[in-house]
Symmetry: C2
Subunit: 334 residues, 2 copies
Amino acid sequence: MEFTIDSPIDMHLHLREGAMMERVTPLTSNDFAAAIIMPNLVPPVDNLDRLIAYREQIVAAKGEDVFEPLMMLFFRNYSKAELLAAREHIFGIKLYPAGATTNSEAGVKALDEVEDTFALMEELGIPLMIHGETHGFVMDREKEFLASYAHLAEKFPKLKITMEHITTRDAVELLDRYENLYATVTLHHLIITLNDVAGGLLNPHLFCKPIAKRPEDREALLQAALMAHPKLMFGSDSAPHPISKKECCGCAAGLFTAPVCLPTLVELFEAHGQLENLQSFVSGNAQRIHGFAAPRKQVKLEKIGMDVPARYGDVVPYRAGEHLPWTVTQRSSN
Amino acid sequence: MEFTIDSPIDMHLHLREGAMMERVTPLTSNDFAAAIIMPNLVPPVDNLDRLIAYREQIVAAKGEDVFEPLMMLFFRNYSKAELLAAREHIFGIKLYPAGATTNSEAGVKALDEVEDTFALMEELGIPLMIHGETHGFVMDREKEFLASYAHLAEKFPKLKITMEHITTRDAVELLDRYENLYATVTLHHLIITLNDVAGGLLNPHLFCKPIAKRPEDREALLQAALMAHPKLMFGSDSAPHPISKKECCGCAAGLFTAPVCLPTLVELFEAHGQLENLQSFVSGNAQRIHGFAAPRKQVKLEKIGMDVPARYGDVVPYRAGEHLPWTVTQRSSN
């Protein structure tokens, strides 16, 4: 039994820098035709020189793979001249509320103080991607941020806004209320709830931001993904941390899902009898929403099984040590 | 500045066995006049011989301290003969739903199958303490169990039932609805919420069962404690785990609070201007509710500061490395 995906795209990916980037980049560039590369490095990718240099490093790390890194600027107040110069090099700009997640200290403190930049982005047609969480109670942070999404979507009706890695039923429902509001969802938020993180023993490898929510939230996300909701895109948020930052006191947030994304998505959509919608969820929706063409690449999976390694270097992947039914057996760009 | 507590009692304590018990017992027996000793050992303390032997080990470990271990049987179906023989040796019987927490595999699978023992306990005046959680979504487990508390309180109106380590506003509210329903609350559930466990970096040392809940739950628990709600008793649920079981993949549940219980309680009640209620919360309520007299012991605290050690052996205590304003300076039994 086999299944082929045309030009899968990961709309939310962390590659880091240096040796970690060199290790993890091929694990995405093998399987995906393109990925949005998150800019929350230290220091952040908030100028064109750094962005171009970072892109060159990624291109070197991917080797011969057919793979397009879609580059993002880290949100700050940008001038029109800066945005005009950057426009052809970037896919969008990623906004982090200050302190909301890993390496977001340089993020935005108050949304109403940066509206000039939103207006410029709207004028120039540059998409805005947002990590939408307040600093409130951890289970409420996304829900509390939804009013800000609604406000921005109304005030800047031509600005394309993506709610990144949504985790709640409320966010799914908001998608249908504003024409210019879109969302990505991760693999793991289609599968886990807070029970998997803290319901038995505490599992630091399933700790992420936004944190996994309630069963009814997971169900709403899964149903939206399985039907390939036209405003929802796959974005893994795969984020490698060395094991020393996960199994410790003060564990970092993030799951490293890159090596198992496609096999797990096929398994999940097959289990729910919705394999025919996976192509849109993992590629078509993103290209239609953002009006771009990903590099041509066919990825074939077969139901011959794979064993997920316990570690990639010092990084523990999602589903480490598990046996998966599906595995990628062929990539072709013809 | 000083503050004296008469015969403080810890109504919920884990001492383990062997070397761990020898290490942690004095950290409670120094400061407390009595404590309820939890029976979820491996194998559980579910017969009189084991209970008497365990008590002797604790008495040896406490040394010269004035300290009364109040022994508990692990709930199973007991015969009347067993309960009659045990009655004078035990303070109560602790019921765990099977699999709800550490070493609870031998617990009860269905409450309605053990009602004969509830009836015997009611007849013989033996209190029932319950770890009240379902196997549902982790944030709902206590709330979902409340109907079982209500059912038991109604069906066995003379059975004294304690909801152990309550963590929700709903449980506080249930206290006032059934005359024979009581509760203990830990130190840490008066202070932390899920945000402290998983809102920033993940903190395995604050992971416990029941898991810390929402801010409004913490507030309800704190207000009930500060007013020394007449049906609420202090029970630390102090539970030592070696650091290798906390900073790892698959971290065990439990905080080791024993060494800082009294200093932190005084700090907390002082901060809220309710020091005059601490005596009832930490001693008076328990003696009145259960009609017993704890050994006479005065514990004096002074506001001269203490530094909490980073570890006691291989156990990391609550507030490790912090400087606390209050410290215990004198224990006398005259």
